[in-house]
C-alpha cells in the first residue's frame, strides 16, 4: 500500500482525492490517458476508456507507463485483470496506419496482417477501401479518411493517422498582445496557452473550457499558430459578430479580412465566420451552402460550441479530415449521446480544465448557485395533478407563483445587472410585464438584439428577460445575476451555459449569483436535479432555499 491519492475502481473509474499532497502530481500523470468525468470538491473522478487510452498511445504514451503510473499513485492494490485489460487495449492501437504512399496516395497499412484481413472483411468498411496494393497495404479513398477512422474505431482497431494535414492557404495572422488601436496590452492566460499547445501538438481536437474563460482567444491563438485561412463555424449571427469584434481587437486581422457568411450576408474572406444555420439550410432537399467548405483552401476549421454541432455538419466534417479542426465548448455533454462522434470526427479532447480551477485562478467569477423552491398554490397543484403528462413540465415551470419570487430576487439584486432566462415565451411575456423589462426572443431582430445588449452592457438597462436564444454565445460581461425560471427539460448543458452568462469576471471582482426557481413537489424539481448534475460534478454546490425565505423579511445571505 503506497497511500497514494488514487483509487482504482473495477469499473475503470479512477478516484482522485484532491486534498492529498500528491494529488497534483498524480493528476498530471493520469491526465494523458484518463478522461476527467466529474470534479466535485473532494474527489475527482476520471475514467479509463479505450478512446482515452488510444489517444494516449497516439500522444506517445505506452502501456507500461500507464500501468506504472496507476500502480505508483494507487492507494490500494490494482486488480491484475484491469492492468491486463489496459495493456491489451493499448496494444490494439496502431496495428493499422493511415499513411501517404508516394505512389498510391492515401493507404491503410498494417503492422499486423491478421488485423488487416479482419477489418477488410468487415461489412462496416464496405466501400471505403480501394484496391489491395500488397499483403499489408490497402488503398483508401481520400474522401473516406474520416469515415474510415470512425469505423475502425468502432471495430476496436484504431488507426494511427500518419497522413498529416494540408497546410492550407497561408495568411498572416498574429496575436496583438501588445495592444492594438490604443487598447491595453494583454497576454494569453496560462491555461489558454496550454490549450493551444495541446491542440497544435495533437493536430486536431476539442478544447473544453468553462463559459467565460475565453475560448475565443484560444481560437484566435490557434489561428495565429496556423497562419492560414480559417473557417469559423458559430451558432448564430450575434455570436459571429462577437467573434469578429474579438478577432479584430485581439489579432492583427482587420475588419476587411473577416467575412460573415450568414443569412444576411454571404462574404468569403481569408477568415470567414459562418453559422450552423446557414450551412444546414436546404433548398429543394439539397444543402446549398456546402461549397463554402471548398470555397478556399482552409488551413483551419474552428467549431464553436461544438456540443451543438448539428448532425449534417458531422457528415461534412468527415470529408475534412485532411484539415486541422478545432472544437471549442464548455460542456461536452450532448443529450443525444453523440460525444463519441465529436471525438472521432473533430478529434479527441485535447484540453480540459475543471471549472473550479479556473475560478480559483480568478479567470471566471465565483458563483453562488441557489435553487429556490416555490410551493404551488392549491389551485395550481390541482391543475398540475390533473394535467396531461406532456403538459406537466410546462404547467409546473410556468406557474404564476414564480413571478413574485423572481421579482423579490430582482429587488434583492437591485444594483446588479440581472438576466431572467426562461424557455416558454408566454411566461417571458408575463415576466416582462411584471418586471417591466424588455424581452429578447427568437423573433427579435438582430438589430434590436444588438441594441438591447448594448444597453444592457452599458448599464442603462438593469434587467433583461431572454429566451433560449440567450443560452449561448452572448457576451454580457457585467451580468452578475441570472434567474432561471424554466428550461429545456433536464438539459445539463443548458444549465451550464446559462450559468456561463454570469461567469465573466466582474470589474470589481463581485460574486455572481445563479438562481433557479422551481416548483416544489413537481416534475420541475426532478428536472432541476438532473440539470444541476453537470455543474454539481464541476463542484458547484447548489444551496436549496424555500421561496418563503426569499419573499420573507429574513434573507439567506451567504456572503
Amino acid at each position: 500500500m503506497s497511500g497514494g491519492p488514487l483509487i482504482v475502481q473495477s469499473d475503470k473509474t479512477l478516484l482522485l482525492e484532491i486534498d492529498h499532497p500528491d494529488a497534483q502530481a498524480c493528476r498530471m500523470a493520469i491526465a494523458p490517458f484518463a478522461e476527467l468525468e466529474r470534479s466535485p470538491e473532494h474527489v475527482h473522478t476520471y475514467r479509463l476508456t479505450p478512446l482515452g487510452l488510444w489517444n494516449a498511445r497516439a500522444a506517445g504514451h505506452d502501456a507500461e507507463g500507464v500501468v506504472d503510473s496507476l500502480i505508483k499513485y494507487s492507494r490500494y492494490p490494482v486488480p491484475h485483470a484491469l492492468l491486463v485489460d489496459v495493456a491489451e487495449t493499448m496494444d490494439r492501437y496502431g496495428r493499422l496506419q493511415l499513411a501517404n504512399d508516394p505512389a498510391h496516395g492515401l493507404v491503410l497499412r498494417a503492422l499486423d496482417r491478421v488485423v488487416l484481413v479482419e477489418v477488410a472483411k468487415s461489412k462496416k468498411l464496405a466501400g471505403m477501401l480501394g484496391n489491395r496494393i500488397d499483403d499489408d497495404t490497402i488503398a483508401v479513398h481520400p474522401s473516406e479518411r474520416g469515415r474510415l477512422k470512425q469505423a475502425l474505431l468502432k471495430l476496436g482497431w484504431p488507426a494511427e493517422d500518419l497522413a498529416g494535414y494540408v497546410d492550407g492557404e497561408a495568411h498572416p495572422i498574429d496575436l496583438a498582445e501588445a495592444g492594438k488601436d490604443g487598447r491595453k496590452p494583454w497576454t494569453l492566460r496560462s491555461y489558454q496557452r496550454e490549450a493551444v499547445e495541446a491542440f497544435w501538438a495533437g493536430g486536431s481536437g476539442v478544447v473544453v473550457l468553462p463559459c467565460g474563460a475565453g475560448k475565443t482567444l484560444v481560437g484566435a491563438a490557434a489561428m495565429a499558430e496556423a497562419k492560414a485561412t480559417t473557417l469559423i463555424l458559430v451558432t448564430n449571427t450575434v455570436a459571429g459578430r462577437q467573434w469578429k469584434r474579438e478577432l479584430v481587437a485581439r489579432t492583427s486581422l482587420t475588419e476587411d479580412e473577416i467575412g460573415e457568411y450568414s443569412g444576411e450576408r454571404k462574404e468569403i474572406r481569408p477568415v470567414t465566420i459562418a453559422t450552423y444555420q446557414v450551412l444546414t439550410s436546404r433548398r429543394g432537399g439539397a444543402f446549398t451552402h456546402l461549397d463554402l467548405f471548398n470555397a478556399r483552401d482552409w488551413g483551419l476549421v474552428i467549431y464553436d460550441e461544438v456540443h451543438l454541432l448539428p448532425a449534417p455538419i458531422f457528415r461534412f466534417t468527415a470529408d475534412l479530415q485532411a484539415r486541422r479542426r478545432l472544437g471549442l465548448t464548455a460542456t461536452l455533454v450532448r443529450e443525444d449521446g453523440r460525444e463519441g462522434d465529436v471525438f472521432s470526427l473533430i478529434g479527441p479532447k485535447r484540453y480540459d480544465a475543471p471549472w473550479k480551477d479556473i475560478e480559483s485562478q480568478g479567470w471566471i467569477a465565483p458563483a453562488e448557485c441557489v435553487e429556490v423552491r416555490v410551493t404551488l398554490t392549491d389551485a395550481e397543484r390541482l391543475a398540475y395533478a390533473t394535467a396531461e403528462a406532456e403538459e406537466r413540465y410546462r404547467m409546473a415551470s410556468t406557474a404564476r407563483t414564480k413571478l413574485p419570487v423572481v421579482r423579490a430576487l430582482v429587488e434583492r439584486h437591485r444594483d446588479d445587472q440581472v438576466l431572467v432566462i426562461g424557455g416558454y415565451i408566454d411566461q417571458l411575456h408575463q415576466l416582462g410585464e411584471y418586471l417591466d423589462a424588455p424581452i429578447v426572443q427568437g423573433s427579435t431582430t438582430n438589430k434590436e438584439r444588438e441594441r438591447l445588449f448594448d444597453e444592457f452592457r452599458s448599464g442603462s438597462l438593469r434587467t433583461l428577460v431572454i429566451s433560449k436564444v440567450g443560452n449561448f454565445s452572448i457576451d454580457l460581461p457585467e451580468a452578475a445575476v441570472a434567474i432561471q425560471v424554466s428550461g429545456t427539460f433536464g438539459s445539463r448543458q443548458e444549465e451550464a451555459q446559462r450559468l456561463g452568462r454570469v461567469l465573466r469576471p466582474k470589474a470589481d471582482g463581485r460574486q455572481a449569483h445563479f438562481y433557479t426557481v422551481v416548483s416544489r413537489d413537481t416534475i420541475d424539481t426532478e428536472y432541476a436535479a438532473h440539470r444541476q448534475r453537470f455543474l454539481a460534478e464541476q463542484g458547484y454546490a447548489y444551496t436549496i432555499v424555500d421561496a418563503d425565505d426569499v419573499l420573507g423579511p429574513k434573507l439567506p445571505t451567504v456572503d
Partner: protein, 826 residues
Amino acid sequence: MTTSLADHLRSLPDESLAALLQLRPDLVVPVPSDISALATRAQSRVSVARALDGLDQFTLQILDAARLTRDPADGTTSTDAVLALATAGPRPPAPTSVRGAVNRLRALFLLYGPEGALTVVASVDEVSPYPAGLGRPAAELDPRTAALCADPAKLRRTLLAAPPSARAILDRLAAGPPVGSVPPGALQAPAVGAEDTLPPDPVNGGAPTGSPVRWLVEHRLLVPVSGGKSGSTGTVELPREIGLLLRRDSGPLGPLRTSPPEVAATPREAKAVDSAGAGQTMEVVRHTEALLEQLAADPAPVLRSGGVGVRDLRRLARTGGLDEPTTALLIEVAYAAGLLGELELPGVTTTRYGADQQVLPSAGYEVWRAASLAQRWEQLARAWLTMTRQVGLVGQRDDRDRPITVLSAEAERAGAPGARRAVLGVLADLEPATAPTPDEVLELLDWRAPRRSRGREAAHREVLAEAAQLGVTGLGALTSYGRLLLADVTDGDARADDPLGLHAEADSEEPSTAVRALDALLPAPVDHFLVQADLTVVVPGPPDPTLAAELDAVAEPESAGGASVYRVTTASVRRALDAGYTADDLHALFRRRSRTPVPQGLTYVIDDVARKHGGLRAGSAGAYLRSDDEALLAEVFADRRLESLALRRLAPTVLATPYQVGRLLGALRDAGYAPVPEDASGAAVLSRPKARRAPARVSVATRTLDPLAAPRVPMPRLLGVVEQIRRGDAAARAARRAPAAVRGGPRSATGPTPVQGHSDALAVLQQAVRDRALVWVGYVDAHGATASRLVKPVSIGAGYLRAEDERTEMLHTFALHRITAAVLAD
C-alpha cells in the same frame, strides 16, 4: 513370475517392504491378506499404471531401456545393459543419473531382482505397449520386412530413396508412437487409368505408387497391422529396427533429458506480484458477494438435467458486469465453498424450466459475509484448490452435443484438484515472483509426469487462467500468500500424521498464515466517507461492514472497487425512511461518518423527502398506551403521579410516552392501574423480509484429501500393515500345510468316520489343553461350510471349546458338536 516377485518381497526386511508401501500406497487399500496377494496387486495393470503416472520423463525412458534390453530367452536385463543403451546416443546422460533412475524403478518394484538379472514387472508392457515409442521387432510383424532389416545396406538404400512426403511420415513414426492410422483405401493400388495423374516413382521403376504410405508399405518399411484394405481405417506400424536406424541422431531412446527443462521466467518484483494478486482478490470477493446477492434476490432454477441454465448464467454475468466464464467460475467456487445451495421450491411443482429446485445462497453465506476480506478469499481459494470441477468445460458441448452448464454433473472431473496442485506446484517450486509463460509450465509438467499431463494441456492452461482470475497468482507468478495457502492445503493431507487432531484444532481457531499474509496486503477497512455537492458519497477504501450496511440503506451504489461510490437520491432517502430511519438519523449518520462538511443540498434533500414521506409526522415514542375506554385514558392522562412519563395524547384512545414500555408499565402499576403489555403483533413493525437460505453445506475445502492423490500413510501404521500382511502370509502358508484330516472336503476312504473323528478330536483337544499345544481344528461353521484353524485350546466345558488364535490374538469359541477333527500341530 508372480511367485518370484512374491518370493522376492517375502525375503525383504520389514523396513524395505514398508518403504514400498509408502511409495505405492494404493497397494494397501485394502490391506492385502498376504504377500502373494500383495505381489499380485503390485503387478496389476491398475497399480502399475498408477506407479508409472508418477514418474518423470527420464525415469520412464530408462524403464523403456530396461524393456528394450530384456534378454529374449529369460526376460531379464541388467543395469549395465540399460546403461549401455541409455548412453548409446550422441548426448549420453551421466551414468549416475541413469543408475539413479534404475534405483527409483527398483524401489517401486517396477524392476526387481539383482542388478545382474533385473526383471521388468509384467504388466508394464500392457500399460505402455511401445517401449520408447518403438514398434515391435520386424520378425514379429512380417517376415519380408524382417528380411529387409536383416540386410542393412538394402535397408539404408530403401530409406534414402523414400520420397520426402514418405520420409516425413517415417520421421514422425520414428519419434513415436510407432503406429499411425491410414485413411480407408490408401493402401490400395490406384485405379487403373488414374496412374498417369500420379507422380512417377523412380524407386518403383518409374511407375507411380500413389500415396506415400502406400509407397512405404510397398517397400516394406511399414507393416499394415489392421484394416486399410477396403472401406475401414487401417493401422500401420514401424518395425523397431527401422525406428532405431532413423533415430541415429537422437539415440535409441530418443532425446534424453535428465533434469527438468529450464524456465526462462521473467523475474518480477515480488511486491508488484503480491499487489496485483491482492487487487484481484478484492475483486473476486466483491464479485462473488455481488453474484450471491443477486442469486439471493432472484434465485436461479435448477435444470432438470442438473446445473443452472445458460440464460441464467448470462443474466448473472450481465448484471454483474462480468464475462460468462468468470461468472461460471465464481459460481462454481462459491458452490464448492458451501456458500450456495439448492432449496426445494415450497409447494411449487412447475416453474419456468419445470424445475423444482433453486440455487441460492446457503446459511454458510452469512458466516462468510461476516468474515474479513482475506478470510473470505481464503475460503474461496481453498474450495477452488480442492473442488473436483473443471469449470472450463462450462459452455462447451458434451458427447451428446448438449451444452455443459454451470454446476452440472458434466463438469465434474476427479482429476481437477490434482491438475491444480500440479500446475501450482510448478510455480511454487520456482523462485518467488518468477512468472513463467504457460508454455513453459506445460513443458515442465510434461517432463515431470508425462503420462499424467499428456492430453490435459487445456485443463492445465485453464488452471493458470483461473489462478490469475482468483488472485492466487499475480502478473503470472505465484503470490506470497498463494504460496502459503498452497503449502497449507498440501499440508492438510499430512494431517493424517496427526491422528489425534492436535494441530487441526489450532488451525481452525486462528487465521492461517495465508490469511495473515494477505491481510497485510489488503487495505484496512474504512469507517468514514466523503460527501460531495453532487450528492455522491465516496468511501475511500473497503467499508467496514456496519458502514456498508448503512450506506446500502441510504444511497445507491454507483461504482465499486478499491473504494465505493454511492449517490444519495430522493429515492434512496425515501427507501431509508421506509426502512425505519428518521430524518434525524440520517443527518446524524452523515454528520458522524463524513470527513467533509455535509453539503446544504444533502441536508435539504433529506428534510424535503422526510417532510413528504407518507405525509406523516415522524417522531419517536418509547411506548404507547391504548384503551377503548376514552374516559379511562383521560384519567390516566390527567393523573399527576404519571407526569414523569411525559404522556402525550395522540388520539382519544392512544397515549404515547418517550420512555420504554417497562418504565411505563411500572409507573402505571405503582399508580394503581392494571395495564397489560401488548406484543409487537399489534403494532406496525417495520422490517425487511427474512432472507431465504438453503441448508448449511460443508465446503469441499474441509475434505483434506484429494480423491486422486495418493493417501499418505504414516510409517508406524505402515509397519503395522506389514506385520499384518506377514502374519496373514504365515497363516496362508500354514493353511496350505493343514493336515488332510482337518481339511474337510471329500473324505478319503481311509479317513476316520465322522463319529470316530469327533471322539478322537475331543481326546486330542483335552490333551492339548493340558499341554497348551497348538492344534489344527476342523469344524463346520454356521453356514455348513467346513473350515480349519490353527489354535491353542484354552479350556473345554459346557459343550464349547475356547481357543486362542495365535495369528489374530483372538479368543474363539467353537461348539464341540461342530468340531469334526483335531490334529496336533507339528
